[in-house]
């Protein structure tokens, strides 16, 4: 078996080895011989053929370069001393060209001084074969070239694959960003747009998702001829899973579209504790181990009498903003929904005089820390609510939004922040 046959036809496991260079076409590897001596060209061509390579010939550097531009030759044997361009000049010219692959150049030379070698290497040569050359040495050095080209091809292949997967990741990342933006839009659509539906009650709200989409949600809606319902929900965790659950819960809770809608006016919507029990049953996992849970407040309020009822499941206690500036905490509730199927909830009555408000919020607002690690906390929240109690609910929500963002500074929010104000306006 000849040397080149060994290098081109023997099956080797790894792509990019000598064998790979020849695949998928089994044609022999092309070697360009650039030499101005016809006898040397003929001799080297004969050797190359014997070793299974395909030889192409050029009698000067310019012709050789022209031949290389076809792009199908990656291995060159070039004489040093030639008319016109010298071997090192040819090397330098090859390095200047923008070939789609590496071209491996061996210089044939009688020069063996170190300074000559350095000059040749600097010009871009990869290897040298002394002249007159030893046939076995030429063959072995050709094999080195074949090996290196194999490595180069393997690297190029790996780069192609990396680029492919990079492009695929880029695409997927863009897709996810688009999907998140779309999910955020859907979520915003499930939040209130105006408080007209619960007139004469007024509402203001604040919604700041920690990561584009949020585990918090809230809404209000008429639940009977006399009463308006409102809820505030915080699904454990944040980001996509929390937001998915939060959005699907919101959809099932808002009466117009919800599965509880048939009960509107008669069932759970008028009974806050029953409402939370239904949610708890829906969320508890059948194997008895918590998977997703949420804290929630649900209440109803009659705008004309100011009488309301609410139930809470592990949620921060709603704040009752009194006309005289006092702030009362609504009664504590039961466990979060989705943890224990045995959890029970109770309904508590509350009352709002004209001009008073009830505020529900997620703990993202009170746990929000500033650069020094201090929490926004409930005292701070109450102080702001008290200080700005003359402001409309809308304006109050806007003030709080600015206050939370200023508190947080440049840092991103760690948890979703939301707050809902329901107001029984003064006549």
């Amino acid at each position: 078996m000849t040397q080149a046959q060994m290098s081109t036809s023997e099956p080797l496991p790894e792509p990019g080895t000598a064998a790979h260079l020849a695949t998928p076409t089994p044609t022999p590897l092309k070697v360009l011989v650039i030499d101005d001596a016809p006898d040397v060209r003929a001799y080297v061509r004969a050797l190359l053929r014997k070793w299974g390579f395909h030889a192409e010939l050029a009698s000067n550097g310019a012709d050789g370069l022209e031949r290389l531009r076809a792009g199908d030759i990656r291995l060159v044997i070039c004489d040093w001393m030639m008319d016109g361009m010298s071997g090192p000049e040819v090397c330098a010219a090859i390095r200047q060209e923008d070939f789609p692959h590496y071209v491996y150049v061996m210089l044939l030379t009688g020069r063996t001084e170190d300074t000559d070698l350095v000059y040749g290497l600097d010009a871009g040569a990869d290897d040298f074969v002394g002249k007159p050359f030893d046939v076995q040495v030429l063959r072995a050095r050709l094999q080195v070239g074949v090996r290196i080209l194999g490595l180069e091809e393997r690297l190029a292949e790996q780069n192609r694959r990396l680029k492919q997967s990079h492009d695929a990741l880029d695409l997927a990342y863009g897709q996810i960003q688009n999907d998140l933006a779309a999910a955020a839009r859907i979520q915003r659509d499930s939040l209130p747009v105006s408080d007209q539906g619960i007139a004469p009650l007024r509402a203001g709200w604040l919604f700041l998702p920690a990561a584009k989409i949020s585990g918090d949600s809230f809404h209000f809606f008429p639940v009977s001829g006399d009463e308006m319902g409102f809820y505030h929900l915080d699904v454990a965790g944040h980001g996509i899973p929390a937001a998915l659950l939060s959005t699907s819960l919101s959809r099932s809770l808002v009466p117009q579209s919800g599965i509880l809608a048939p009960n509107l006016g008669s069932g759970e919507y008028l009974n806050p504790a029953g409402f939370l029990e239904a949610m708890n049953t829906q969320l508890c996992s059948p194997d008895g181990e918590v998977t997703s849970y949420a804290t929630v407040v649900y209440g109803v309020l009659d705008p004309h009498t100011g009488r309301g009822r609410l139930a809470s499941a592990g949620h921060p206690q709603p704040l009752l903003l009194r006309a005289n500036g006092e702030i009362e905490l609504a009664p504590k509730g039961g466990l979060p929904v989705g943890m224990f199927d045995t959890a029970d909830y109770s309904t508590h009555a509350f009352e709002l005089a004209p001009g008073e408000r009830i505020v529900t919020y997620s703990d993202g607002i009170t746990d929000c820390v500033d650069a020094a690690g201090r929490a926004f906390d409930i005292e701070h929240l109450c102080a702001l609510l008290r200080r700005h109690r003359e402001a409309s609910s809308d304006a109050l929500a806007e003030l709080l939004r600015a206050a939370v963002l200023a508190w947080r500074g440049d840092a991103e929010l760690e948890d979703d922040v939301s707050l809902l104000i329901i107001e029984r306006p003064a006549p």
């Binding site: 454990a236 965790g237 008895g288 181990e289 918590v290 592990g314 979060p336 224990f340």
Partner: protein, 111 residues
């Protein structure tokens, strides 16, 4: 992250990490479950080192309680900081767990 764990009179005593949040909650939950299921179901979770726990962290402890009770055991909490106690009170979970000031008392409470 590996949960600190030892056995004392057939009771598993587990110490939770300094921060128990979404990032490590899945891992902590799996380890705690494994510890409980290969033991007697009687567990003391020591929170002395835990300074911060988010809602995902809370789920780890609740899931541990549920695993223990399925085995007719229980999960007691010991040495929680004021801020963690506030979290348990906010979510009303302090009504579900037996909470002890120190670990020895919690272990002894299993009798």
């Amino acid at each position: 992250m590996t949960l600190k764990h030892r056995q004392e009179n057939g009771i598993d005593v587990v110490t939770l990490p300094q921060r128990l949040v979404m990032a490590n909650a899945g891992d902590a939950r799996a380890q705690l479950k494994e510890i409980i299921q290969s033991g007697s179901g009687r567990v003391v979770v020591n929170l002395a080192e835990t300074s911060f726990m988010d809602s995902s962290g809370l789920a780890v402890v609740v899931a541990g309680l549920q695993t223990a009770r399925k085995l007719d055991g229980d999960l007691y909490l010991a040495q929680m900081s004021d801020s963690i106690r506030a979290l348990f009170e906010l979510t009303r979970l302090h009504t579900v767990f037996q909470i002890f000031d120190d670990e020895t008392a919690a272990v002894r409470a299993f009798g």
